[in-house]
């Protein structure tokens, strides 16, 4: 069962990592759809 639990933890880590990483790289919907005239932060 250790492999199963490790996999479930990995799902959580990968998901949070993907969310944070893609956001940092500018792939958020806000970044992708706003023009240069828009101040997001």
């Amino acid at each position: 069962m250790k492999a199963m639990m490790t996999a479930f933890v990995a799902i959580a880590v990968i998901s949070v990592g993907a969310w944070y990483g893609l956001g940092e790289l500018g792939f958020s919907a806000a970044d992708q759809t706003s023009g240069s005239a828009v101040r997001l932060n």
């Binding site: 069962m1 250790k2 492999a3 199963m4 490790t6 996999a7 479930f8 990995a10 799902i11 990968i14 998901s15 949070v16 993907a18 969310w19 792939f27 919907a29 992708q32 759809t33 706003s34 023009g35 005239a37 828009v38």
Partner: protein
Amino acid sequence: MLRAIFALILTTIFAVSGLAGPVTAQTAAETATETNPRAATGGAPTLEDILARQRGETTDFSHRKQSGGTAAAGITEQLGTLGGSSDSEVFRSLRYGTADVTVSNNGPASAVLIQDRGMWWLEFRKGPLSKYGAWLLGGTLVALAVFYLLRGRIRIDGPKTGRTITRFNSFERFGHWLFAGSFLILGATGLITLFGRTVMIPLFGKDSFALLASASKWAHNNVAWAFMLGLIIIIVNWTVHNIPNKHDLKWLAVAGGLFSKGVHPPARKFNAGQKMIFWGCVVLGLSISASGVSLLFPFELPMFASTFATLNEFGISQMLGLGTLPEQMAPHEEMQFAQLWHTIVAFVFMAMIFAHIYLGSIGMEGAFDAMGSGEVEEQWAKEHHGLWVEEVRASKGAASPAE
């Protein structure tokens, strides 16, 4: 008297010319209508056009697409707020994508202000797609329940040995659970997204559903990467073991012994049934990943126009009775097709996995251990994977002298 006669003559002349006028005009209109059916409507769709469209027939509206007005009228004419165009012409050019639109936001879709295929997608999504998808999942669950009632739990037929054999190592099990765990989350959140408006909002209310929908969307978008990694791991681990061989025919001939007690066709590491599940996971997994990535990066990775062009070119769409599929579409339409395909594949995938989960848990004694601890009862292994047990023993025997 003379005056009365003169008046009569004049009246007769006007009456005759008055009759002749409309007749002449009517003849001219009829001639024009015959050569150009829309001449009578000033270029607008005719009643026949509208009725044909309502009957769902393909109508040629190319004449409307070209009728978007001019940016500026001749300098002798009065310019309105729309330049030389009318309201109708402006909206028509927006609808057919010929308008020169300037917007301050980014993305290929931002300049598309009207996308008239959206309603078809919306109706299909909440209608046939949801309905038949629900029937498929419900029907699969009912079929499995009936199978359980008729066949019961498939037991280990022979006496248990008390010895175990390693069926899957920890990396194989990790890959399986990464794929399986993320699949369950994606399946549940996908169903929440599809049936939210029709099923969940009436049950929980809009406020509660808004929170659930936000969490669901976050999970669906981000767990997808774990799913794709899990898919890669299972492909690397198990493709070699899932290449079809002659034993599969024997297995299929007796339906794997699923419907009869004491029947155990020979199988190596995976039997024909498991191979079907494996290849189903690979094909459906790759397809759903492709449409999923297209949806994760909206409008950046369109794939349907080119796919449709290929299907049209080889006559496959015509062979399937789909006619000529659209090869040029608005960015939103690409996403709509990606969403529909993603959902259709997901429903088939879920129905298949329902059967897999059933046989891997309550449906068969000893099956869960293969993915739980990785160690299975030797008798179970002999009954379901007899050739594989011999291979393992042979490899151990070969390895022993060296140890």
